[in-house]
């Protein structure tokens, strides 16, 4: 077994690993555009941090989105935007998650509900406008991740809602429909929405009188069901309505009904690891060819050969069997 060939092949394999160029090798990466709801209902504190202290939905979204970003493979990219009322805005186009991680972290950390430039919360319009925005700023191949609790304030008139299915279909798939994930935030139980003054100091909670309890926009679908309907003077009736619009929970049914026509996935935000799993669904991964250094393969083989070359003869002989070693011993 102490033949020169083992050590010669070690040398050849090492030569190969030194000279080997980087080979194109397929690997996965992800491109996301995070769009985060910064309307007031996101201030509801119905999540808990690791210490069990209550944190707001917005803080939860920021923390979990960040830890998901941290886990993404290098080469993936993340862009960021926020929306309020029905208007989304772009904060930055996708950045690479490894090289620019400090900037992504800082920007996500600094998202604040007080960035909101208007106060209403019109989720379905915001979603439709986000899809359009992504076409405008040429993020067609990027996966939309839309964080919201689904609280429409004021409530919308479904007759005038945009048709998400139509937005996501186009002739010859040009531009292609946008893939994405709708992330519902909040607890299933209803909670009160905190109210702040101009300085950002909490001054209590919204009460039933503070918010419209039903829509008064446009024309009702079926006037006969509305009490006190007068076509000109009271198209929405003359009765004050009671409701729970001042309380908020995650509107899962509603969000699913948005996700379905828009062909988006739906996920209810609970933990960072579950969010990461939902984000790295196969539908969202992009194959890309990466120049990969594979020189470790011949080097490992070289090491094995050298190891064999050094292996004590006695061990090798034992492996080869007793039969062969016996005749050698015999003359003694």
């Amino acid at each position: 077994m102490k033949s020169p060939w083992l050590i010669i092949s070690t040398a050849l394999l090492l030569l190969l690993s030194v000279l080997m160029p980087h080979l194109p090798f397929p690997s996965k990466k992800y491109d996301y555009f995070f769009m985060i709801d910064i309307t007031r209902s996101m201030n509801v504190e119905d999540y808990q941090n690791q210490n069990g202290d209550p944190i707001s939905r917005l803080e939860k979204v920021k923390a979990d989105a960040l830890s998901a970003v941290q886990k993404l493979p290098c080469g993936s990219r993340v862009g960021l935007g926020v929306f309020t009322e029905r208007m989304p805005t772009l904060l930055f186009t996708p950045m690479e998650v490894c090289a620019d991680y400090p900037e992504i972290r800082e920007s996500i950390k600094r998202i604040d509900w007080r960035m909101a430039w208007v106060a209403d919360s019109n989720i379905i319009q915001a979603l439709a406008n986000t899809l359009e925005l992504m076409h405008t700023v040429e993020l067609n191949d990027t996966t939309l991740v839309f964080f919201t609790d689904g609280q429409e304030a004021p409530p919308i008139n479904a007759r005038y809602a945009p048709d998400l299915a139509e937005l996501q279909t186009s002739e010859d798939n040009q531009p292609p429909p946008i893939k994405g994930l709708l992330v519902g935030t909040g607890d299933h139980a209803l909670s009160r929405i905190p109210k702040y003054d101009e300085e950002g100091v909490q001054i209590g909670f919204y009460t039933a009188e503070d918010v419209p309890q039903g829509t008064t926009f446009g024309l009702p679908e079926d006037p006969s069901k509305i009490e006190g309907y007068v076509p000109r003077n009271a198209p929405w009736g003359n009765q004050s309505r009671a409701g729970n619009e001042h309380l908020s929970n995650v509107k899962e049914e509603y969000l699913k009904s948005l996700a379905e026509p828009a062909k988006l996935h739906y996920h209810h935000l609970q933990s960072a690891s579950e969010l990461y799993n939902a984000l790295t669904h196969d539908d969202f991964s992009q194959r890309h060819i990466r120049q990969t250094d594979l020189s470790f393969i011949p080097a490992a083989l070289a090491m094995f050969c050298l190891f064999l070359a050094y292996l004590p003869e006695s061990l090798v002989l034992r492996k080869k069997g007793v039969v062969k070693s016996n005749p050698v011993q015999a003359p003694h």
Binding site: F92, W117, T136
Partner: protein
């Protein structure tokens, strides 16, 4: 030399480096009497060298397989440059062209022109740190002061998304100034306000801004993207009745900036070309000595490891070839 490993678990292979001290690569030969082959000093040394070569080969292969690399380093150097914060107006009127029209193929919107020129400017200033703030009715944090140009470029791209609501200059500047709170004072500090409108500042905002500009010693550049036939910084009021901040906010904002105890430059920009001229002037003016960090990227050492192993093994091959058959 900061050495680290990509796959530290492979370092266990280092144990193999002791192998050459217990066994050899040569055939054991039977000799009739050991005393016939006395060990000379030369053979002892050669024997040690052969063992060391084997150990070297194993060690360097193990280090190579563990993915040895030199960690990235930041060198502190001194050059010329600045800490620049762009405070970008994201109000709805930025979507229009300089002519106040809806943009088309030949005449891009003001925001697009600004984006292109700022992106070029960022590329041409290698040592500067850039931060980006957007503002409309409220300010929003876009990217921190950073030397990563790719991040700054991505942040400037935010100008491609449609504008939002009103122009609240005071809050935008306030957030821009807050970037300098924890920054070491080195090089020039600059705020570049890019806006196409102005707003009245109340007394409280004026006092806070004056105090902050003075405390952080930040110079201010105002690139006012003037719409054709619109009011400008230097517009004179037609009648004394019009001479008030409600009617002429630009004029009054400019007058307020002039009273600040810091260098202030205003550029009224009404064509893409004049914006370029303004940016070139900023380029010339802001180059104080700056202590900046230069990043030396991580240096992969696996190839060197394998080369060392190859060198050791080649010598061993040579010695093996000399082995008596």
């Amino acid at each position: 030399m900061n050495i680290a490993f990509a796959q530290p678990w492979a370092l266990i292979l280092l144990l193999l480096a002791v192998l050459p001290f217990f066994t050899g690569i040569f055939r054991k030969r039977v000799s009739s009497w050991n005393r016939l082959l006395p060990a000379s000093d030369a053979t002892r040394w050669i024997n040690r060298i052969i063992k060391l070569l084997g150990a070297l080969a194993f060690t360097s292969m193990a280090l190579g397989l563990a993915g040895m690399y030199q960690t990235e380093k930041t060198f502190t150097r001194t050059g010329t440059g600045a800490h620049i914060v762009f405070v970008l107006d994201r109000s709805a009127s930025m979507n229009e062209t300089f002519g106040g029209k809806v943009p088309d193929k030949d005449t891009p919107a003001k925001s697009q022109v600004a984006r292109r020129l700022l992106a070029k400017f960022v590329d041409e200033r290698p040592h500067d740190l850039f931060g980006v703030v957007g503002f409309s009715t409220q300010p929003f944090f876009i990217s921190p002061l950073t030397e990563h140009k790719s991040a700054t470029q991505a942040a400037i791209n935010s100008l491609t998304s449609p504008g939002l609501a009103f122009t609240n200059v005071a809050k935008g500047l306030g957030m821009g100034l807050s970037y300098f709170q924890d920054q070491p004072h080195t090089g020039s500090r600059v705020i570049v306000l890019v806006s196409d409108g102005a707003a009245t500042l109340d007394h409280r905002a004026q006092r806070v801004l004056r105090e902050w500009f003075e405390r952080y010693q930040v110079s201010l550049y105002w690139f006012f993207l003037r719409t054709e036939n619109g009011l400008g910084i230097t517009s004179e009021p037609d009648s004394p009745q019009d001479d008030n901040p409600r009617v002429m906010p630009e004029r009054y904002l400019d007058q307020f900036f002039r009273t600040l105890p810091i260098p202030y430059h205003a550029y009224e920009v009404d064509t893409p070309e004049s914006l370029e001229v303004a940016i070139n002037q900023l380029d010339d003016l802001e180059s104080l000595p700056l202590v900046y960090n230069e990043l030396i990227p991580r240096n992969d050492l696996t190839c060197i490891c394998f080369l060392t192993a190859l060198f050791a093994v080649l010598i061993l091959v040579g010695i093996k070839a000399l082995e008596a058959k």
